[in-house]
Structures are given as C-alpha cells and as structure tokens.
C-alpha cells in the first residue's frame, strides 16, 4: 500500500530530523553571535520535516483521487534474495574489518570466493577468480598507482 509506505518514510525522516536537532544542542556558538555550527543542521532538519509532511500529503492526495497506481518495481523478494542481500552487506563489513588484519590479498580473495556463489557462479569459477583478481588488482592499485594497500599477514613477503 502506497500510503503506508509514505507514512513510514515521513516518520523516518522526521525522526532523523529530531535526532539531528537534539545533537546540535551541545554545539558551541561563534563568539558574540546568536548562531554557530548548529545553524545549518537545524535548517536541514527543518527541510527534512517539511519534505516528510509533503510526502505524507502527497500520499493522502493520491489516496483521495484514487489514482494511486503502485508503480513499485520492488518485486516480492524471495528468501534467497533476502539472504543474498544481507550476505553481500556482510561481505563489505567483513572486508572492512579484516583488510588491515589479513592484508589485501587474503581479504580480497575471501570476498571474491564468497561473492561468486552468491551471484550464482560455481565453486570452480570462484576459486579461479579469487586467485586471479586480487593479484591483478593489487598490481594495478599498489604497484602502478601507489595506493597503500595493507599487507597484513603477508607483511614478511611484502614488496
């Protein structure tokens, strides 16, 4: 139902705005001026609340004129879809945590190894990609473009 979604969105935006305003309470002021770093966040919070009101009103209006044609493209997600979504997000978090510890090669290989099956590839493909991709990307970013990718566990073999 479109109106339910609009209400949720409006509530979420308002909550975000209120959280921002509460946070700005403790901000210092510019000397001898009635405002400071809190001015802009508060204007933005106000804008968020106005947008929320607008979204809800739009939802109510479309309800009244019964022209509410739900053009949502979000297809009903399957259980596997939900799992894949969470798994990819978890892979990103895992990479962020493990990159400094394990080093680029191992962390990247793990990401590819796990991501390929999620996107529907088989184990053989995963193994091949997990071997080749980290080496190639390391060459491009570390050796050519001087990006300091961490070595982690492989520090003794670093170049």
């Amino acid at each position: 139902m479109q109106i339910r979604r609009d209400l949720i969105v409006g509530a979420a935006l308002t909550a975000l705005a209120i959280a921002m305003i509460i946070q700005t309470q403790g901000f210092p002021r510019i000397r001898a001026m009635p405002y400071g770093p809190d001015l802009f966040p508060r204007i933005i919070a106000g804008g968020l609340i106005l947008s929320a009101i607008g979204i809800v009103m739009e939802g109510l209006r479309s309800l009244r004129i019964k022209a509410a044609q739900d053009d949502t493209q979000v297809s009903p997600t399957s259980a596997y879809g939900a799992f894949a979504f969470v798994a990819i997000a978890a892979l990103v978090a895992g990479f962020a945590l493990l990159l400094p510890v394990m080093g680029f090669h191992i962390a990247a290989a793990l990401v590819v190894l796990l991501a390929v099956p999620i996107f529907g590839g088989n184990i053989l493909l995963a193994l091949v990609l997990a071997t080749v991709a980290p080496v190639v990307l390391h060459y491009v970013f570390y050796s050519l473009m001087r990006v300091v990718l961490p070595w982690g566990w492989l520090t003794p073999y670093a170049w």
Partner: protein
C-alpha cells in the same frame, strides 16, 4: 600570438607523443573507480622534472582532460561514476548501457566531451581576461549564491515527486554536515571518530549510493540468471548512432560548453557543479523532460560537454592569479613554479608562449581523446560481455578498493556500506538518489560560504546583496527558487481536485 605559431610549438613529435601517452594514462585512471584526476597528476609530478615546461604542462592538461571524460565509462558500465562530475547523469548512462547501448552512449558522451573541451579552450583563448575579471569579483557572497543556485537543480534532476526530491536533497545535505564545521572547528556528528573530521568524501559516498545499492539489488533479485550477458552493439554501428545523436544535439553542446567554461572559471565551483547545472538546464528546456533519469541521451550530452569545458575553465584563476581552483591546478602551479614560471596577470606577457601552448595542448589532447577515449570505450565495454556471476563480484571488490584508495583507510569502506544501505532504503521509499549526491557535493560549499559571509557581515543578511555580482546572482537565485516553489504548489493544488 597567432594560432598557427602556437600549433607549431605543440605539434612537435615530443609533445604529441607526451599528449598521446598521457591521454591513455588519463583514460585508464579515469575509468578505474577510486583513482582520481588529482591522484593521476600527483603521480605524474616526478616525471615532469625531466620535461621542459611546455611538455610538463601538456602532460598535466592531457591527463586531466581524459580522466574527466573517462569517469563516464565506469559510470555507464559499473554505475560507479569516476568523478563527481559524472554523477549528474550516471542514472541515464547506466540504464542506457544496460539496455544494450553502452557503446552508443559512451561514444556520444565522448563526442560531447571532446566538443565541450574544444569550445572550452576556444573561449579560454579569447576570453581569459574577461573570465579572470569575473572570477576576481568572487568572494564568499557570490560563491554562496552560485552554490545555492546549483542546489536548485535538485528539483530538476530528481524524480516526478517534488517532496521526495527535496527529501533526497536534505538527506544529502545532512550527510554533508558531518565533520568539523568551518566557523569554529567543532566536530559535528562524528561520534568521536577522528577520521570523520574531514566529513564524508564524495567518491566513497557515490560508490555506496550508486554501485553498492545496485549490487545489493542485483544480489536480491537477479540470482536466477547468473550467466546472462548483456548485449554490446557492434563498434561501427555504435559510432554512427553516436554521431547522429551528437549532430542532433549540437545546440545543447554549444550551450552547455559555454556555460561549463564560465562555471569552471569561477572559484568554488568546478566540473561537478557545471555538469549538474547543465543537466538541469537541459531537462528544463528539453522536449521530453520526463525521460530524464530513465536513460535519456540528452542529459549525458549536456553534462558531458559541460564538465570537460569546465576543466579548461578551471585554468583561468590558476594562470591569471596563481590561485588554484582545485587540487589539480594547485599541483600544476607547483610544477610550473619548479620550471621557473610564476603564474599571474603578467603571464600573458612574460610567458605568452607557455600560456598558448597550454591552450594548444588542450586542443590537441581533446582531439587525441577521440582516439584514445574511443579505444578505452571499445575495450571497457567488453566487460559487459562477461557473465554476471563473474562481473558482480569483481565490481564489488573494485568498489571497495576504489573507496579505500581515496582515504587510505577502511573508513571509506564503512561509508560505502552505510550509504549503500541508505540508498537501498531510499529506493524502497521511492526517493531518488541523484539529489542526495548533489547535496553531499554542494552542502559544504554552501554552508562554508554562508557562514563566512555571515561572520564578515556580523549577521547582517543584507550584506549578501551588497556587492554587485552578488546582488545579481542572489536575485537570480531567489527568482528561480520562487518560480520552482510556485510551480510545485500549483501542480499540487491543481491535481488535488480531480480534473476529470
């Protein structure tokens, strides 16, 4: 100095060779997510020590020009805009390339970029003093109005729902408030994390919002067809089609390139602001505004022409005042100084040859970009022939390294994750993403200049109109906002009572 004499200097094998190699280098760097034009130029510096001044300037110019164009390539293919300058129209270019026209799209963008660049140089060669005078009059007041004008594009680049566009813009602006504030240096919304003091940087933010959200969506819905490949049209057919759509839109290119050059020359604005404004203007005057954001070539033509023109424009303050407009020109000034050349108003007298060679190099680089950029497009689009199960994991890895490369810390990866999830929620909420990116890019500029102006004027708002240029820009901005609000309200109340 006449053009032929300049070209004679530029058209030596050594300079031509340098430009050729650097356009290849720029195309590679620009197309790789996370590698920026600034990084490319910084890495170029040690090589410039062995070059003469003309060659060094040519190298920098050629690299940046191609890098800005090549940002479109990763935008269209991977939905990872290479630079914020490509973000304005990434929604269009990505959808077009997914629908089987990646090469037509990118060749059109290439032609527009080349043309935009050439027009930019032409304007630069004849109007630098005038542009310099305009940029001389820019204080925080004018910069504030220009950035605010840029923000109004949010209404024009988003979806059909005005409140949702505004919600998106304000979400972006809220993200931009993270970090140390300009007025007193207070860390806001950083939750004690020192790395967040610098705020949320654009590249990880864009990667998260566009690329990761797309990967997440893909993982959630597309697993049934892991080995499906996208179609890539034959090269010749793509070039012909691109040429046709380029000729169709020559008016857009002329308009956006001249606008882009001026915006690029102004302090505080750059290629990204130029692209957003060009895209918004394009939509406003288009015969089919409803197609924008759903895979329409017109906006790509305008944005692409504008951002490459702006790259040329950005050299105005650098050359005339020695004040860099961005980090690329800052590095370039350092290189020129090492060669014993001091940028400044006299440079047109003392080092006229060099100035005109820089223009000449721009021209040649843009023309050579037709070849090298075309090569990059032809090669890069091959990526789309790769099966999904191979491509998606690689994009995921590339997105994360790209973010890491910008800040050199894992914070960028967390930002990608957070904004990727936020974007997924926004997509579910039917809130468009583009205005949020605009908010992230412009939020800081708007706020910093506003606070600086307020501190200068001690809180007196009339001071925002006290200077001539500021008064004009301010009046224009307020007028546009008034019209936008009026139209939004009118359409809202008109449709409230069913018309049929």
């Amino acid at each position: 100095m006449d053009i032929l004499a300049t070209l004679a200097i530029v058209l030596t094998p050594k300079i031509l060779g340098t430009i050729f190699v650097c356009t290849l280098y720029g195309a590679f760097v620009g197309a790789m997510p996370g590698l920026t034009a600034t990084m490319a130029v910084a890495l170029l510096v040690p090589f410039t020590w062995f070059m003469d001044p003309v060659q060094a300037a040519a190298a920098i110019v050629a690299t940046t020009t191609t890098a800005i164009f090549a940002g479109d390539i990763s935008g269209a293919i991977l939905k990872i805009p290479g630079t914020p300058a490509s973000a304005a129209y990434v929604e269009d270019s990505y959808r077009l390339s997914q629908s089987g026209k990646p090469r037509t799209t990118l060749f059109t963008a290439l032609f527009a970029s080349v043309c935009g660049g050439v027009i930019g140089v032409a304007i630069l060669a004849y109007a630098t003093p005038a542009l310099a005078n305009l940029s001389r009059s820019f204080s925080s007041d004018e910069a504030f109005w220009l950035a605010t004008l840029g923000l109004s594009c949010a209404v024009l680049v988003g979806g059909p729902s005005v409140p949702r566009n505004f919600a998106s813009l304000f979400i972006g602006l809220a993200i931009a408030t993270i970090g140390i504030d300009v007025a007193v240096g207070h860390p806001r919304f950083t939750f004690g994390n020192i790395e967040l003091y610098d705020g949320v940087s654009f590249i990880p933010a864009m990667i998260g919002m566009f690329a990761l959200s797309e990967l997440l969506r893909n993982a959630a819905v597309g697993h049934q067809t892991p080995l499906v490949k996208l179609t890539v049209e034959p090269l010749l057919q793509a070039i012909t089609a691109a040429g046709r759509s380029f000729l169709q839109h020559w008016k857009n290119i002329l308009r956006s390139a001249s606008g882009g050059t001026v915006i690029g020359a102004l302090p505080g604005a750059g290629a990204d602001v130029a692209a957003w404004i060009a895209y918004a203007v394009s939509r406003r005057f288009s015969k089919s505004p409803e197609a924008f954001g759903r895979g329409h070539i017109e906006g790509i033509v305008d944005g692409g022409a504008a951002n490459n023109a702006a790259v040329a424009g950005a050299w105005t303050p650098a050359l005339v005042f020695g004040i860099p407009g961005d980090s690329v020109t800052a590095i370039a000034i350092g290189v020129l100084m090492m060669k014993g050349l001091t940028p400044g108003p006299d440079i047109f007298n003392t080092d006229a040859v060099l100035v005109y060679t820089i223009f000449g190099s721009f021209l040649i680089a843009n023309i050579m970009m037709l070849v090298t950029g075309g090569l990059a497009v032809a090669l890069a689009t091959q990526v789309l022939r790769v099966p999904r199960a191979v491509l998606m994991p690689l994009i995921l890895l590339l997105a994360m390294i790209g973010g890491f490369a910008i800040t050199g810390s894992t914070l960028a990866i967390w930002i990608i994750l957070a904004l990727g999830l936020l974007a997924s929620v926004m997509i579910w909420s039917q809130i468009p993403l583009a205005p949020a990116i605009l908010g992230i890019v412009l939020g800081r500029i708007v706020e910093d200049n506003f606070m600086v102006s307020m501190m200068k004027a001690r809180g007196d708002l009339t001071e925002f109109f006290a200077r001539d240029t500021a008064a004009v820009l301010g009046a224009l901005t307020l007028m546009i906002w008034a019209v936008l609000i009026y139209r939004a309200l009118r359409s809202f109340f008109q449709t409230q009572t069913p018309s049929k």
